[in-house]
Amino acid sequence: MDESRNTVIRKRSVFKGVKLSESKLTADKPIESLPLPEKIILPLQQHIGAPCSSIVNRGDYVLTGQKVADVGSFVSSPIHSSISGKVVSEVKIINPVTSNPVDALVIESDGEDKWIDLDSLINPQKEHKPSDLISLIDSLVPKDMITRIREAGIVGLGGATFPTHVKLSPPPGKKIDTFILNGCECEPYITSDHRIMLEYTLEVVLGAYIIGRILMPEKMFVAIEDNKEDAIKEIDSFIKGTNLENKFQIVSLKSRYPMGAEKTLVKTIVGREVPIGGLPLDVGVVVNNVGTSKAVYEAVVEGKPLVEKVITVTGAVNDPKNLTVRIGTPLRDLIDYCGGSDEKANTVITGGPMMGISISDIDFPVIKGTNCVLVKKGSPASDENCIRCSRCVSVCPMNLMPLMFVRGVRSGMYEVCKEHYIEDCIECGCCAYVCPANIPIVSYIKVGKSKI
């Protein structure tokens, strides 16, 4: 065997970006299970695409894992109950991402957590050797695997929430030659992907193996930032132990924000630039997050729908933790379980500090895209005059001129935004992070994008 293939290769970033302090408070804390919530709130749209409609009625009794909402459209993803209990009401809540009201089901737990019969391909009581699981996966038909992924309601769990079965069905004529398993986790504070790689190594790698069987790429990379050496080692030894080293190439990336963003990652690993307004598949690449990969494994092999996920609860809480949480659990339960928050804290963010969204109500539920709950003391941006220092230009990983977007929006001349390629912006926040005038540049960019 070729020795050079199974060693980890190292790469540096090829984009500008920023070096952030990591603040990974929970990197060494094993994942705990949050006790079952008393009730869950399930928004009927937790993905990019057509919203689902409810297929249950008020008063219905539902089991854990039972499908409660779906829609016929291909670009969409069904929603499952994450507890067993009674559907008590249908309410409208404000989606903090889009600020639009969405329908949501409220389900009250009976405390039993009775599951539906899972359509598992293995006996869950028994131990299975990885080699047996690999031959099981080899015997499956890609089309069936995609159906199982769709039925399990799997979406991109890195935060983008794009339906995974759509990503794995590239349009005819688009040849995918590279798959990248994204374990970068470049945002400060978040450690959920890190812990998933350490504690669910088999699920993560075999999930990627399933994706590889579906897409049939020439190359598969596992991309991990070098601040997670233990995860690199764990995955490396699993790959070697299962003779998968000719399938996967592990890449240890010098940590730099936003390494984990699809576009910067694709450029760093394969040297290709996704065209403006395009997707990685336009350059023959598919990127999936490690959490998604774990969910893909559980859906395909164990028949388990997406009802829970690992979430880092961190920042100004008394005891930061990594938790396995049922989807729909109110954020309040997570914060209370971590010993409550510091008195001075006034911001609750779902996601990381760079791209996360501050929410107005801690009774808002965990949704599929939630990977972190960050509690902190925040202060509003002071939004002073731009002094044209060009720090935003010198950090933009997309090589844009963010100050021009601010100028365009402030003056109402939105064509200035378009001339400077505002649609290419990934809203990573590097520009606003370094801005001496503390201008909320990302906020201006969102306005600019909505106007062109």
Partner: protein, 319 residues
């Protein structure tokens, strides 16, 4: 956990504020300021103090008149200080006050205040003074230190300047600052200490000064001038590190800054060699300030994922 704060991402900030940057520049400017006071005595202190106070007060008054919030962001202090440093050391105080008011009121606030001005306010002020008070603006003295009487003398770039000793002594005097000239432009040594501070804290980009000085050196060499003399004399060092690097009035992209530096260098050499005036730093930077919007418009970084549209596609898109 009631009344949660809603704010746009990102939720962390590096914390290097405009204020901190401005005061870092002030600290760096204290080195050439110290040199000015050392070489030109008490009157230098009065020039500096009156210029800075006038600048800050003018800004305060104009903000009040425009009903805008006055922020002590340090930018008026820098303008006042820079303006003082490029004045002749014996200029009457009332002229300093008039010039300083012009810097803030006309060159900065009339354009919309911090961030909106096209020309570097201190340089615009100097250009104004050159036109209004041509005599006073070209009366130079040799270093007088504290107390000793002022003796008029030509600046090194002036036509009547003569030097009888060896060149090494000349270079040494120019480097230390022991020569006639504007208040803060004479001591290359202390200007460089301030410049190194700004470069070390990444307040300024190396490209503008390096390409500016490089172009002047190359141009002087090609024209058969004494290269070292051309670099050390006049206001070139102060201009290259403290004026041409002004954020507001210089391009924002790396390549744009190279163009800016080279352009300023060419103009400086041209004015010095061919022009009627002995020195050209002030006007060459002002001219390049005027070109800055144009440079920013045509020299943009290539965005990630940029695909050049072929002419046919462009036409197809328009029809």
């Amino acid at each position: 956990m009631n009344n949660l704060l809603i704010s746009s991402s990102p939720h962390i900030w590096r914390g290097l504020s405009t204020n901190k940057i401005m005061y870092l520049v002030v600290v760096a400017l204290l080195f050439p300021t110290g040199a000015g006071i050392y070489f030109f005595g008490y009157h230098a202190i009065w020039i500096i103090v009156s210029s800075v106070i006038t600048a800050v007060v003018t800004e305060l008054v104009i903000k009040k008149l425009r009903r805008k919030k006055f922020v002590m962001d340090g930018s008026a202090v820098i303008t006042g200080l820079l303006f003082a440093l490029i004045l002749p050391p014996r200029i009457p105080i009332w002229m300093v006050v008039v010039g300083s008011v012009f810097c803030i009121a006309v060159a900065k606030e009339a354009f919309g205040g911090l961030g909106y001005n096209i020309f570097n306010p201190a340089l615009a002020g100097r250009a104004f003074m050159t036109v209004c008070f041509p005599g006073e603006m070209t009366t130079w003295i040799l270093p007088s230190f504290f107390g000793s009487d002022a003796v008029t003398g030509a600046t090194p770039l002036g036509e009547s300047f003569t030097w009888e000793m060896d060149k090494l002594t000349l270079y040494k005097n120019l480097f230390i600052g022991n020569r006639a000239g504007s208040l803060g432009e004479t001591s290359v040594m202390l200007i460089l200490i301030g410049a190194i501070l700004l470069l070390a804290f990444k307040v300024i980009d190396w490209r503008i000064p390096v390409f500016y000085l490089g172009t002047v050196a190359l141009g002087s060499f090609l024209l058969g001038e004494d290269v070292i003399f051309q670099l050390l004399a006049g206001g070139l060092m102060l201009g290259a590190f403290f004026m041409a690097t002004d954020y507001v009035t210089s391009p924002v992209t790396a390549n744009g800054r190279i163009v800016f530096g080279v352009g300023a260098g060419l103009l400086t050499v041209a004015i010095r060699y061919f022009g009627a005036m002995p020195e050209g730093v002030c006007f060459s930077i002002l001219l390049m300030n005027a070109f800055t919007p144009l440079i920013d418009r045509y020299i943009k970084p290539k965005p990630y994922g940029y695909v050049r549209m072929r002419k046919k596609e462009v036409k197809a898109g328009q029809s």
